[in-house]
Amino acid sequence: MDGAGLDAGGMDMPLGSVAPEIVLIVGAVVVLVFALFAPRRFQAGAAALALVTLAVSGFASAVMLGGSQSLTFFDTYAADDTAVWAKLIVLAVTAVTVLLSVEWFAGDPRHGEYYTLLLLSALGAVVLAGAADLMGIILGLLLSSATGYVLAAYHRTDARSGEAAMKYYLLGALTNGALVYGAVLLFGLGATTTLLGLADALPGSDATALVTGTALVVLGLAFKLGAVPAHAWVPDVADGAPAPAAAFLTVAPKVGALIAIGRLAVTLPEADVGWRPLVAVLAAATMTLGNLAALHQDDVRRLLGWSAVSQAGYGLMAVVALGRSDLGISSLLYFLAAYALANLAAFGVVVELRGRTDLRSYAGLASARPLLAAVLVISFLSLVGIPPLAGFTAKVLLFGAVVDAGYTWLAVLAVVNTVVSLAYYLRVLAPSYFEPLAAPIPVLGRWARAATLTCGLGVIALGIGAGPFLDALGISRLLPG
């Protein structure tokens, strides 16, 4: 898309390159208006509208694949394949979330606005993934967070939901302060906020300021990613937020955040700031802490939350390899897709089981709900990285990338962590399969089930069909690197 067709405002503002984003905004507004004026019994129609929006936006994104791979809007926004893939992943995640939400929120009078917020939150993640400007990163993160807090708090009479949102907010606001200050420092050094400009200006600048600014920005993004040391919100949100929202919040923002970290990393001059070891240590700490804390969880949703923390650590491995291994970008995108599917599938099972979260209450699941149990197995094994599921190929790529980048120790640590993670995933699977059914296990509804099963199948399909997908990822670039 060279912008010639839809050039609206100026010489470098091809609206076509942000068509998916525009569709999301318009869709969000349409849904909002619909929700405001439609009678209560039609509120579910908002879900359909949201799905249509996502589909259109997805279509608009898909046609951009293999496009110009350039920066646009005066170097503030990236129109590269990485951003497009991120959009597609986020949109798919959002669509699944919509399906999971229909029956979950059926009794909520504010059902309609929920989809508006969901769409806007998706937009935040998308913007974060595409931002090629520090301000864009800040705003994408802010949009994603602002909607995220609300999504987490959406059960307004549920104390846990509010508590989760509050903690999410408090941590987010603090780290946002750090992010902003870090961005300001980087601006001070480079006199610009576009990543392209910074990439030109930063080499050779003052190391003290650069290091401090980098650390501050990384802290801000670590929050969005759910990485140490700003990870604490993840288990709380996974536990307290409405289950479909939890599914969304542990996945979609990470897509944006991980890519943003990647973009930032390739911008920074490696000689002046050792971002690679920094990210590596962050990855190591995140995966280790997440796995350790998940080890003895008796609450499945919290367990999934901690597993999401550890997965963020794995994801950071891809960033470590950026620029050093040609597997870097494809491992990053593939990991995101694989993680998104598996995590959604796992949360989908929880949703379909009406939010069932006590480990013991999973006893006998396999005999009562064999398909859901199978999805649980598939998603967990994929998160562990058992072939031929998507998670396995992701891990192969990640391990390969970091080994290639000279960070074998990180790969070894990731291996150790993987073994630990298997232990807690099996803690959930064991009662499901090896214990007799204690009480009947009611389910939510067919939309949630359909979405869950789709994700489960997707995990398998993405794993076995990794070939074409990786082919397509192969040409992705991470601008401005």
Binding site: G9, G10, M13, V18, L32, L36, R40, F73, F74, T76, Y77, E103, W104, A106, G107, D108, P109, R110, E113, Y114, T116, L117, L120, S121, L123, G124, V127, D133, M135, G136, L139, G140, L142, L143, A146, T147, V150, A153, Y154, H155, R156, T157, D158, S161, A165, Y181, L185, G188, A191, S205, D206, T208, A209, T212, A243, R354, G355, R356, P442, L444
Partner: protein
Amino acid sequence: MSESLFVDVAFWLFGGGSVVAAWLVFRTDSMVRAAYWLLASFAGVGVVMVVLNARFLGLVLVLMMAGEMTIMAVFMVMFMMNPAGLNPMTMVHQHRQAKIAGVVAFAGLALVGVVAEFPDRPADPEGEATAELGRELLGDSMLIFETAGVTLLATMIGSIAIASKRGRFGDAEDGSAPPPLDPQGDHS
């Protein structure tokens, strides 16, 4: 040079005042007073901005914060069951750690400010700062600006969604709980 002197004095006065006001936010024993100290701190920074030739920004800041702090004060009166918000309050925790964290944060950033060499490229004092900002908003950074707008929109929708008690269909909170594990319950 007199202008320079004026600038220095104004800076030390308002900049220093801003810091002192900030400190007093957490030293006062009433939430309402804290809110106004906060406003004072922002006002001090606003003035410094003006001094630095960012007049528009300074003004916006002061106006915005004045509004916000008013809300904050009202809010406290409304919700904290603390008319006038004047009751003594020393509600702190992990005080020592917080102090250390604050000191470390200050020391670290001040160190960066003092030690680090930033490019020395002063802005043109005659520059049309406000006009440039306008051009930037509608030109190079239009996308950023639009994003900010959407973010504010989302914030409005979200705030209302969770804070407003009344909905179109009666009590907004009715039915806003997670579905029960057992569908025989009140699930519709």
